[in-house]
Symmetry: C2
Subunit: 716 residues, 2 copies
């Protein structure tokens, strides 16, 4: 099938309905690179295997679900029929890494009969040029109407002892630092991989999270994840490290059940993306494509956001979220803040917020996040406190009306912050009033947080109950035309295609950990292959004062160079990008800060120039609606030299290139702030050599040159 032109949504379905039970089925990807085989074995267990260019990616692996008070959907199956189809459509995301996304796959839907107790399930495979998605479908039927999942038993049998970039499987946090190891080494490394967190429930010495990135000894990059996690529990992977077989491991509820389902319904898609070229993993849009099209009719109010925030000063301990140190605990509506003594470190005060607004206005930022604006921060965490915030009552020193008026007068918006402290019922009770307050004052985006254990106790951050809550918050926000950036929520699975007001998520180890003791230097080379497979991350890059020199006791600081922080605006894709450092940190490096001001946050095209998970990454992106490009490159703790060929540029045009590079003496430990900036006129034929320091990087802006530019600026 030939590539269909962009903007033309085109569907072509070819159905074959099998009438005779068959022992095996197979399916190939549109480009022929992939082959999927499906069969039912002697025990009546569904089995699939996946080949990439003739070699196994997934060895024969069983499929099925263990149900509660039920013989389960594990075996006793026969193939009742199959349907195949092809699909090719190009769609436009509301925001994204490119203007258009092609959704192109061949499909096999196998209907399986389970004679006893007499029911059917469908397993639907979609084979793309970059990998596979498959899911369970449960048609409405008498013997499978309401059912409870004890465990999903989807296997992913590996072909060897791959290298994996993994974090510990956990029902409550995704904020671990990555470990690179062989699969067989996971067990031995698990204890050290589980670092303390405000809420954490690891479950197995070989349990890991998705998206899981691996590399085989013969150079095959393999990614396992899920797509369209809706009304279901989040999947982890548990490794049988004797046989190198992963099996799905869902997040349980308080009584250990893993899903309450009502047919007709479907599981999320389980995805396998693989290639000999790591860049193909990054370029894959399988996760988005397996989600439903956008459900918001008018998306005109959804806009990418570049922002600063009253945040890093609290994260680093310079300032406080809390207004007072006077009260041992707060009872909302009873504690009278006007009678307490301000602690003098409360950052979300009128004067300080205005300082940030002024800075945002001066430097062209869209919004200013303000955390700690509302009553309750004195005892918000770890207290099993149900009524922890009301999301509508500002502290005495935060004049919500005046500050929003002031921001609006400067062309800036404030960004709302809703920390829930995991008290989900409390948040839902206040949600309408909280969103309405936002509308009343002109906020259009909210950063929400779920720090600490979920209330009610026993529920987990990634269980069906909590996942249902996150969706409720997103859908209700859409009613109010509010964009959501949920931290500590379940890791994304492409749901932002359907609900593009889900503008961001944290759901991984963000920059804040650089203030909590640091992340490994290789850290940011991995999330694009893992966490970002599901959707954008509010990583909050841009720390210039990496040594936190403004603190009395700075501690470890950020484990990158200053320039690497710039590169993250390109390598760590998000339509929501923060410049996380203090204004005064930027004011000391306004020349380098220029890149953060210039860099786009929405894109027409993306090219992955170099990629090796755990090692390095170079990405070039074309800014939405312009001819300008931005390139970012990063390395792990090994210094690295490379040469960027600008052949992605329009061959007929000249560009002003500005390169932000690590200084020759730069090193993330000893000299992180050493950088050099070089400017010159370039074309698509220019090659730019760059050197990156230990945990360094580079950033490059390529702005279409005006005739004046070409006169004033010398050639590269």
């Amino acid at each position: 099938m030939k590539t269909l032109s962009a903007r033309l949504a085109c569907l072509l379905f070819v159905f074959f309905i099998g009438t005779v039970a068959m022992a095996a089925e197979s399916l190939t990807s549109p480009n022929g690179n992939y082959q999927l085989n499906f069969s039912v074995n002697a025990q009546g267990e569904p089995v699939y295997e996946l080949f990439y260019k003739g070699k196994h990616v997934i060895k024969p692996s069983r499929l099925g679900l263990d149900l509660k008070n039920d013989p389960g959907l594990l075996n006793g199956f026969t193939i009742a029929g199959t349907q195949t189809a092809s699909f090719d459509e190009t769609w436009e995301p509301v925001w994204g890494e490119e203007k258009e996304i092609r959704n192109h796959y061949n499909e096999l839907a196998v209907t399986l009969d389970q004679a006893n107790p007499g029911r059917q399930v469908v397993i639907r495979f979609r084979l793309f040029d970059e990998g596979l998605g498959f899911r369970y479908e449960f048609p409405l039927q008498e013997k499978l109407n309401y059912f409870v999942v004890k465990e999903e038993r989807t296997e992913f049998a590996m072909t060897g002892d791959h290298t994996a970039f993994w974090i510990a499987g956990d029902y409550d946090t995704q904020e671990y630092d990555y470990t690179e190891s062989k699969l067989t080494e996971i067990r031995g490394l698990m204890d050290s991989a589980i670092t303390p967190n405000s809420s954490q429930t690891p479950f197995s010495p070989t349990g890991v999270q998705t998206s899981l990135m691996m590399k085989s000894d013969d150079g095959l990059y393999i990614n396992l994840h899920e797509a369209a996690l809706i009304d279901y529990s989040c999947m982890h992977l548990n490794l049988d490290d004797a046989n190198l077989v992963f099996t799905s491991w869902l997040t349980p509820d308080a009584v250990g059940d893993k899903g309450y389902l009502q047919s007709p319904c479907v599981s999320p898609w389980r995805t396998v993306i693989a290639s000999n070229d790591a860049r193909d993993i990054l370029a894959s849009r399988i996760t988005l494509n397996l989600n439903e099209p956008c459900k918001i009719e008018d998306t005109s109010w959804i806009k990418p956001v570049k922002y600063i925030g009253v945040w890093w000063e609290m994260i680093t301990g310079k300032s406080s979220w809390a207004y007072t140190d006077d009260v041992p605990s707060v009872k909302l509506g009873i504690t009278d803040y006007s009678r307490t003594k301000p602690n003098g470190t409360h950052a979300a005060n009128n004067e300080n917020v205005k300082r940030y607004i002024d800075f945002a206005a001066e430097h062209g930022f869209d919004q200013v996040l303000v955390e700690g604006w509302n009553e309750g921060w004195e005892d918000w965490f770890g207290k099993s406190k149900d009524y922890v915030f009301d999301f509508v009552t500002p502290y005495p020193d935060f004049d919500i009306a005046e500050l929003n008026r002031y921001a609006a007068s400067k062309g800036v918006k404030l960004m709302m912050h809703h920390e829930t402290s995991g008290s989900m019922r409390n948040y839902e009770r206040h949600m309408d009033a909280a969103y309405q307050l936002m509308v009343d004052y002109g906020y259009n985006s909210v950063k929400s947080g779920y720090v600490g254990d979920i209330i009610p106790r026993g529920e987990h951050h990634y269980g069906q109950w909590a996942n249902n809550h996150y969706m409720y918050a997103i859908e209700k926000a859409a009613d109010y035309k509010i964009m959501v950036n949920a931290h500590e929520a379940v890791r994304p699975t492409g749901v932002c295609r359907t609900w593009p007001n889900l503008i961001g998520n944290e759901s991984a180890r963000g920059t804040e950990y650089e203030a909590f003791g640091g992340s490994k230097p290789f850290h940011t080379t991995i999330p694009p292959f893992t966490r970002l497979i599901g959707g954008p991350m509010d990583y909050t890059p841009g720390i210039f004062d990496t040594k936190l020199s403004f603190l009395e006791h700075p501690g470890n600081g950020v484990n990158t160079t200053l320039v690497k922080q710039l590169a993250l605006y390109v390598t760590m894709y998000s339509p929501l990008q923060m410049a996380a450092d203090l204004p005064e940190s930027y004011e000391r490096h306004l020349d380098a800060f220029q890149f953060i001001k210039d860099v786009a946050i929405d894109w027409d095209e993306t090219q992955y120039l170099e990629a090796e998970p755990g090692y390095y990454l170079t990405i070039a992106r074309k800014a939405k609606g312009t001819g300008n490009w931005f390139v970012g490159g990063i390395t792990n703790e090994d210094p690295r030299s490379t040469r960027i060929t600008l052949d992605f540029l329009d061959p007929g045009k000249q560009y002003v290139a500005t390169l932000y590079a690590d200084g020759k003496d730069a090193d993330y430990r000893t000299n992180p702030s050493s950088y050099q900036i070089k400017k010159g006129i370039v074309t698509s034929k220019t090659r730019i050599p760059v050197w990156m320091a230990s945990s360094g990087g580079f950033a490059l802006s390529l702005i279409e040159a005006t005739p004046q530019d070409t006169k004033q600026i010398k050639k590269w």
Copy 2:
């Protein structure tokens, strides 16, 4: 202290603040009948004992709480100080068994020091003329700010092997039939006492519920319960049957914790009501008095309600809540009922509801409850279905606008029904819209239900999480001026004083069980001593066709005579009273039905004429704002003769007495519908002999006679 005049709220506090730690304290009730001793024993455990007329009611019993990750509040205490006070106030309930309630007690508050870890708790005792209330108070302090209750260890040491009227302790149901036994017999009878229920979690072979009614061998009636259960877990009692000591046993959450508290805070009151005269138990207002005064400023919209309902026909199986039998399961918003085949048995249809409205209008009922009016009843129960109802979408055959218009045109209101199926989050999500719908259509009362296990799983009907929900529903209803009658919610503890829009509760074994196989003939002689100690019950009496003769397969039927059903309108106090039977059942006995039409539902005065729990009960009540009295009497399965002296009547007046008595051949098993009605003029000197059949009763109305009455009606 002399009795203060009614309407005059009067407070008199006398404080004594002890400055020296003391070994023992004592307190007497205003009338001197009660004495409380408090001390700290050698282990530093707080100990109390209670005397009534010089004899032990509660032998020395320990007090304290076991905390999580904490040494606990069990021992190591010394008395740091005491405060005593007296209080005497008379207040007017919005509705009730009498016009004015006297709140009269002596108080002892003991401050206890726990040297290690260095903190204080207060135990506050209030000694009334009818018994004791005490609670734990946790002042705000560094070493006791946020804390988690592992278990409350409040003991109630009994003086002997009392006779108890008990139901099994259970975290999820209160709908068991009572068992009468010695305390030491509980263990042996527990298995048979635990009958099946839609949600049930018994916890111990000697665990029982409060309010627990007992009688000692020497004739002391003892009642144990709690008051003001707010933001705390509901208390059960677990019996050490070797030593005859009850210990409090709270309802846990999903992880086994029993309460998340933040100081300053208090426990509910634990109450001991005792007397040599069983009638004093019924007359006690300790439970109401220990609750806070009314928090609703304008209570003019809160009105007692006499109602009928589209209900019994579904309970008995004659009709259905569900609209169709066509769909195996429902997805709200997706299932299109207009395309399903009506099952022909759906009771909440326009025609049938109008029939009930007509009947209500003709016979002077305020409201018509309609259950099964909204989409979702096809699969509402036992399915772990989160989104089970939306509370706003009527079935196609229920025209909500037209039916409310029709009802209003007849001077009748419809009563809303919100079955939650235990899915509390779902109810809260829809609560504003649901209440607003009520306001829009003129509903002012809602019967809510919590049938089945709580969602999220692991939470229980009587845990702090659920209790918090019930209060949320009540308080939010007050915002909309809606009265709440919550079924399957936690048993009441006098909270209706504070929130009088809590117009009723089920929270016990109601009349519905008479259609599910029957309740024991003695059943209704017990709840006034137990369940009703906490607040009114929507018992839904009034079944005339006790043999359910309208059914094809009637089954067992109601275990009372027809006349006993009439008596329940007086003996089973509620400001919300249903005539539960089908209109056609009443039409066959319009003469007996007259009592239900006449009987008041709000009272100026109540006199308890005879009382013996498990055996018999006779109560006389004076209708609010009138001179009319209504008397009801019931017996257990033993026939009984008695003589009612009308000395409670105004001596100077004549009354038309109408006696509804069991027929001479009446028997609840063989001839339940045999009754006789006698009318005559009476005075306060008249004595009326009555005979009650096996599980029978009598009802008596006493209406101030007009001059015409005295001419036309002969003397008794």
